[in-house]
C-alpha cells in the first residue's frame, strides 16, 4: 500500500469513526471521546506530515490508563455505559496502531460494535437512519482497506450500497425467522424510567396542564380495524372515590377485588401500545373483559401493572361496551360527603330526590336524569380556562362561576349525587383519541385526559354518567381538539348549532395537509415500533404460525432458516453468475457497420480482423476507402488502444451513420 493509499484509508477511518461516535455525546461522558480526537489527530499528522508513530510503551501505558479510568469511574466493565465507554476509549487508542491491514479491519469491526451500542439508547427511526449511513461508511471503509486502487469514492460507496441491497432479503428472512428469546440473557438491561403526566388526583387546575400536552399516552389497534364511535371511547384509568371537598383521590385501603362485570355484551378486542408511565395504569376501553397476566384488576375495575411501566409495551385486551356490574356491599364510601358541603348543594340534591321519588320507578336513574338536565339547561359553559375557585369549589362552581371543564363537572356531579343519596364516584382516564387512517390505529394523548362519573344503579350496578357530555357534547363527539380549534376562532363551544359547529371545525386544506403528513409520520413511527422495537417472541409467533412453525423447537427453526437462506443464495447465485452475453458499445457499433457492408455483399469472415476486412472491401470499392478507413481507425482506437481520448463513441457512431454503401 502506497503512502497516498494509506493516507486516504486513514481519512476514511477518521471520517467514519467521527460519524459513528457523534451520537455518544448525548449519552456518555464527553471525556470518552478524547482518546479518539487525540489519536486520530496524531494519526492524521503521521500520514500528512510524517510525524512519528507512538511507540509500543506509549500505547501500553495509554491502554492501562484507559482501563483504570473506566474502573475508577464505573467500578465495573460490564453493563451498557461502562462497556461502551470502554469500547470508545479502545477505539480511540486503536488509531495509534494502524499499520497492518489487520489493525485497520479490527478498527472497523469496533466501529460496528459502537453502531450497535447506539441502539441501546434509542431505537427510533432517526437513529436508525443516521446509523444506516454509518454502516455504509464502514463497509466502504472496508472496501477501501481491501481495495485501495481502482475505485473512486463514489464507486466505493456504490459497492457498499450494492452489498447492502443484495443483503436485504437475506436480512429480512433472518430477522423474522431467527428464534427470539424473551427477556435478556444476563439481565444486564438497565433502563431509565420515563415519566407521564397522568394524574391520580382530581384537583382544580391539574388537568389544564395536561390539555396542553400532545404527548401520546397509548395507541390502540382494533381487531376489526374500526374503532367504536367516539362517544363510547372512554379509557378507564383510576377510580376516585374519596374526597375532602377540594381534592378527589383513590381509596388505597380496599384491596379485595369483588367487583365483577356481569352480562358483558359488545366485546371488543384491541391491542394497546402503552408509552411508559410511572404509576403503571393500563387504560382499558370502558370495562375490561380480561386481565393480562401480571397485572392487577382493582376494586374499581381498573387495570394496573404491578410496577411502573418503564418502557413502551404492548398488550392485547378485551372490553365490554355494554354490561352490568356487581353491586358492592359497602356503600358508605360512595355516599360520603365532606362536611363542608354547602346547604345550597344539599338542597338542590334533595329537590331532585323528592321529584324522583314522586315519579317512582328507578329512583337513581331518575335523579341522574334530573342532574343531567340541570347541567344542560342552566347556563354552564365548558371552558379550558376556568376561573380559580376558593374553599368550596363545588358550591362556587355550581352556583357562581358555572364555567369549568370535565373535572369540575365530574366533581360537582358526584357531590350532588351523593347529596341526593345516590352512590357515585369519579373516574379519571382518557376520552376519545385521534384516529390515524394511514396506520389504522387510534392515538390517545395527554390532552385527551378526561374525568367522568359513575353512579350505582340498583339493577345494573355501576353506570357511567358524563356531565361533560351534557354540557359540551362536542367535547365527546369531536374530541378535545375541537375545543382548541373553536377557541382559536374565538368561538365559545356549544354556542352554535351542530351543523355550523361541524363546519367551523372542518379543517382548512393547509391544516388538512399538515395533519395528513403528521399522521403518516406517526403511522410510520408506530409501524417501526411494532416491527423493530417491539418485535418480540409473541409477535414472531404470529408469523411462525402462518408458516406452520409455531411450537417447533428452535433447532428446527434454525434449520429451516438455514435452508431458506441457502435456497435464496442459490437463486441469487444463478442470477449474479449468469452468462453475460455482453458486447460493449464499441463492438455493437462496429457490428452495425459490418451489417451495412453485408447488405451490399461483403460478409466479414470469422477469421478476418477489422483491418483485413477493411482492405478486402477497399480493393473492390476504392471509392469507400476514406469512410472505411475512418470507421476502422476509430474502432481500433476505441477498442484496443484505449487512446480514444479525442475519439469518442459519438465520432464512431456518426462515421457509421454517414457511411451509406450502395
Amino acid at each position: 500500500m502506497t503512502d497516498t493509499h494509506a493516507r486516504i484509508t486513514v481519512i476514511w477511518l477518521i471520517a467514519t469513526a467521527s460519524w459513528v461516535i457523534l451520537p455518544y455525546i448525548f449519552h456518555l461522558p464527553v471525556w470518552a471521546l478524547l482518546p479518539f480526537l487525540f489519536m486520530a489527530g496524531w494519526r492524521y499528522m503521521i500520514h500528512a506530515h510524517g510525524w512519528r508513530s507512538p511507540g509500543r510503551i506509549v500505547r501500553l501505558v495509554l491502554l492501562l490508563l484507559a482501563t483504570l479510568i473506566i474502573y475508577q469511574y464505573y467500578h465495573t466493565f460490564l453493563g451498557r455505559n461502562a462497556g461502551l465507554t470502554f469500547l470508545l476509549l479502545l477505539m480511540g487508542l486503536k488509531f495509534s496502531e494502524l499499520n497492518a491491514e489487520r489493525d485497520r479491519i479490527l478498527l472497523v469491526f469496533i466501529l460496528f460494535l459502537l453502531i450497535l451500542g447506539n441502539f441501546l439508547y434509542s431505537q427510533s427511526l432517526w437513529v436508525a437512519g443516521y446509523l444506516v449511513v454509518a454502516v455504509i461508511a464502514c463497509l466502504a471503509t472496508l472496501v477501501q482497506i481491501q481495495q485501495p486502487t481502482g475505485l473512486t469514492v463514489k464507486k466505493q460507496l456504490f459497492v457498499a450500497g450494492k452489498l447492502i441491497l443484495a443483503a436485504l432479503p437475506f436480512m429480512l428472512v433472518m430477522y423474522f425467522l431467527f428464534p427470539r428469546i424473551s427477556g435478556g440473557l444476563w439481565g444486564l438491561t438497565n433502563q431509565n424510567t420515563a415519566t407521564s403526566g397522568f394524574s391520580e388526583e382530581l384537583r382544580p387546575g391539574s388537568f389544564s396542564r395536561l390539555v396542553e400536552s400532545r404527548v401520546p399516552v397509548f395507541r390502540v389497534q382494533f381487531e376489526r380495524d374500526q374503532p367504536p364511535p367516539a362517544a363510547l371511547q372512554y379509557w378507564r384509568g383510576a377510580v376516585l372515590s374519596d374526597t375532602d371537598g377540594r381534592r378527589w383521590f383513590q381509596n388505597k385501603a380496599v384491596n379485595s377485588v369483588n367487583a365483577q362485570v356481569i352480562n358483558g355484551k359488545q366485546r371488543v378486542t384491541y391491542d394497546v401500545t402503552l408509552e411508559p408511565n410511572k404509576q403503571g395504569w393500563l387504560f382499558p376501553l370502558d370495562l375490561p373483559a380480561n386481565k393480562p397476566n401480571r397485572h392487577i384488576l382493582s376494586q374499581g375495575l381498573t387495570l394496573k401493572a404491578r410496577h411502573a411501566i418503564s418502557e413502551r409495551q404492548r398488550y392485547r385486551l378485551q372490553s365490554y361496551l355494554s354490561y352490568d356490574t356487581t353491586i358492592p356491599k359497602q356503600l358508605d364510601r360512595y355516599l360520603a360527603l365532606p362536611e363542608q358541603t354547602s346547604q345550597r348543594v344539599r338542597d338542590l340534591a334533595n329537590t331532585w330526590r323528592k321529584q324522583a321519588i314522586g315519579t317512582g320507578g328507578n329512583i337513581n336513574a331518575a335523579i341522574v336524569k334530573q342532574a343531567m338536565g340541570y347541567f344542560r339547561e342552566q347556563l354552564f359553559y365548558y371552558t379550558l380556562e376556568p376561573p380559580l375557585l376558593g374553599g368550596d369549589p363545588v358550591d362556587e362552581f355550581l352556583f357562581e362561576t358555572k364555567k369549568g371543564y370535565c373535572e369540575h363537572y365530574a366533581a360537582a356531579f358526584v357531590t350532588l349525587m351523593r347529596a341526593a343519596g345516590v352512590p357515585a364516584r369519579v373516574v379519571v382516564g382518557f376520552q376519545g383519541g385521534e384516529y390515524n387512517p394511514a396506520g389504522k390505529y387510534l392515538t390517545v394523548r395527554q390532552s385527551d385526559a378526561h374525568a367522568w362519573a359513575e353512579y350505582l344503579d340498583q339493577k345494573k350496578g355501576w353506570v357511567r354518567a358524563d356531565p361533560t357530555a351534557a354540557v359540551a357534547p362536542s367535547r365527546i363527539e369531536y374530541g378535545i381538539d375541537s375545543l382548541r380549534v373553536m377557541s382559536e376562532k374565538g368561538l365559545g363551544l356549544d354556542l352554535l348549532p351542530g351543523a355550523a359547529l361541524r363546519q367551523s371545525l372542518a379543517p382548512g386544506w393547509l391544516r388538512d395537509l399538515g395533519t395528513g403528513l403528521r399522521m403518516r409520520w406517526d403511522a410510520v413511527n408506530f409501524a417501526w415500533y411494532r416491527w423493530v422495537e417491539d418485535f418480540n417472541p409473541q409477535r414472531q409467533g404470529q408469523i411462525l404460525k402462518k408458516l406452520g412453525l409455531l411450537d417447533t423447537s428452535w433447532m428446527l427453526r434454525v434449520a429451516v432458516l438455514t435452508a431458506i437462506v441457502i435456497f435464496m443464495l442459490a437463486i441469487f447465485a444463478a442470477f449474479i453468475l449468469r452468462k453475460e452475453v455482453t458486447l460493449d458499445k464499441t463492438q455493437k457499433l462496429y457490428l452495425s457497420f459490418c451489417r451495412k457492408l453485408a447488405n451490399v455483399g461483403f460478409n466479414r469472415q470469422l477469421s478476418e480482423g477489422p483491418l483485413s476486412f477493411a482492405s478486402r472491401v477497399k480493393k473492390t470499392k476504392p471509392e469507400w476507402a476514406a469512410a472505411i478507413n475512418k470507421i476502422t481507425d476509430y474502432y481500433i482506437l476505441l477498442r484496443y488502444e484505449n487512446l480514444g481520448k479525442n475519439i469518442t463513441l459519438k465520432n464512431l457512431r456518426l462515421a457509421i451513420q454517414q457511411f451509406k454503401p450502395l
Binding site: 441502539f119 463497509l139 472496508l142 443483503a167 455482453t582
Partner: protein, 318 residues
C-alpha cells in the same frame, strides 16, 4: 488434488474456484456472535437488524468474491528470451467479458492451503470488458526452455472477509533462456580483424535494403513503426553492412573447457561479434549456422546454443 488447468488459454469456471474465510472473516464471525448476544440480552430489535444485516452481507459477499474470478479468461502473453541468471518475465493476460474486476492476485502454487500463503506475484485490476497483462518474474537458472511457473489466482474483494482462489494454472508458455555469457573477454582471433570497421557505425551509416517480417528478437529500433501505424503489421528494416568481416565461432576452438563452459564462451563470442558488427557463423556439433549479420541471426545462434543438448529442444511454443 485436482489437476492443474492447462492450455494456452484457461477459463475459470465454478468448478475451478474455491473459497474460505480469511482471518478477518473469522474475526467477523466472532463480531457477529457478540452482536447477536447483545441483541438477545437487551431484546433490542435494531441490534438484531444490524446483526442480521452484517451476517447477510457476509453471505452475499461470498457471491461477489466468487464472481470476481468467475469466467475470467487467462492467456499467456508474449515473452522475451533472456540470459541464464537474469529474470525471465512471463506475461499473464486476463481477458474480462464482464464488469470491472478488482484486486485480482497471482500467487505461486505452493502445497499448502492457499489461504495461508502470503506471497503474491502480482496484483491487478481488470477494466470493464477489457484486457490486462501482468508480468511475473522468475530467475532463469538454466538455459533451454523455461516453462511458466504454475500459479493460481485469488481475490479477497470486496470486504476482505473471504478468500477465493482458483485451481492451479499451468499455461503453455515457455521462455527461451539463452546460456549465460562467459565473463571474460574472448579472444576469437579477432585481433587480425581489429583493423576492420567497428561496432555501431554500420547501423546508422549503412544502406537500407528493405523490409522483412518482424521477428520477435529484432531490436525495436529497426521496426518500421510507420508501417505499424498504418496498420500493415510489424516489419523490420534491413540494412546491409559494407564493412563486415566474416568469422566463424566454432565449438572446436574452445577445446579444453567443460561443455557448459564452452557454451558460455560461445555465447559471449556471439554477443561480442554481434556488437562488433561482424558477420559471423556458428558451428556446434549437430548444427551449423552460416555467417550473416542481423538480430534474427543473433537470436538463431543464441537459441542454438541455448538448446544444445537439451533433452527436448523442440520449441514448446510452436
Amino acid at each position: 488434488m485436482r489437476p492443474a488447468l492447462q492450455g494456452s488459454q484457461v477459463v475459470l469456471t465454478q468448478r475451478s474456484l474455491y473459497m474460505l474465510p480469511t482471518g478477518a472473516g473469522w474475526l467477523f464471525a466472532v463480531l457477529l456472535l457478540v452482536m447477536l448476544m447483545t441483541a438477545m440480552n437487551y431484546s433490542n430489535g435494531l441490534a438484531y437488524v444490524l446483526t442480521f444485516l452484517l451476517a447477510a452481507i457476509a453471505v452475499v459477499s461470498m457471491l461477489f468474491t466468487h464472481k470476481n474470478l468467475h469466467r475470467l479468461i487467462i492467456k499467456a502473453g508474449p515473452n522475451i528470451p533472456v540470459f541464464t541468471g537474469s529474470s525471465a518475465r512471463f506475461a499473464i493476460c486476463f481477458e474480462n467479458k464482464q464488469n470491472q474486476r478488482l484486486g485480482i492476485m497471482v500467487e505461486p502454487f505452493v502445497k499448502i492451503t492457499p489461504v495461508f500463503n502470503k506471497t503474491v506475484l502480482a496484483r491487478t485490476d481488470i477494466p470493464d470488458h477489457g484486457q490486462v497483462c501482468v508480468d511475473i518474474n522468475v530467475i532463469a537458472k538454466k538455459r533451454g526452455y523455461l516453462p511458466m511457473p504454475t500459479v493460481l489466482l485469488s481475490t479477497r474483494f470486496p470486504l476482505g472477509l473471504l478468500y477465493t482462489w482458483s485451481r492451479r494454472i499451468s499455461l503453455d508458455s515457455h521462455c527461451l533462456i539463452y546460456p549465460e555469457p562467459a565473463n571474460q573477454k574472448i579472444d576469437l582471433g579477432l585481433e587480425q580483424l581489429s583493423g576492420a570497421e567497428h561496432s555501431g557505425h554500420h547501423l546508422q551509416g549503412d544502406d537500407f535494403t528493405g523490409l522483412r517480417k518482424y521477428n520477435i528478437s529484432d531490436p525495436p529500433k529497426h521496426v518500421h513503426w510507420k508501417a505499424v501505424a498504418r496498420g500493415r503489421g510489424m516489419q523490420t528494416k534491413i540494412f546491409s553492412g559494407r564493412h563486415s568481416e566474416i568469422i566463424w565461432l566454432d565449438w572446436k576452438n574452445f577445446a579444453g573447457h567443460e561443455p557448459e563452459a564452452r557454451i558460455s564462451l560461445l555465447t559471449r563470442a556471439v554477443l561480442d561479434a554481434d556488437k562488433a558488427g561482424l558477420e559471423y557463423g556458428l558451428r556446434i556439433p549437430g548444427k551449423i549456422i552460416h555467417p550473416t549479420r542481423s538480430s534474427l541471426h543473433r537470436h538463431e545462434c543464441l537459441k542454438a546454443l541455448a538448446l544444445f543438448e537439451v533433452h527436448s529442444n523442440t520449441d514448446p511454443n510452436d
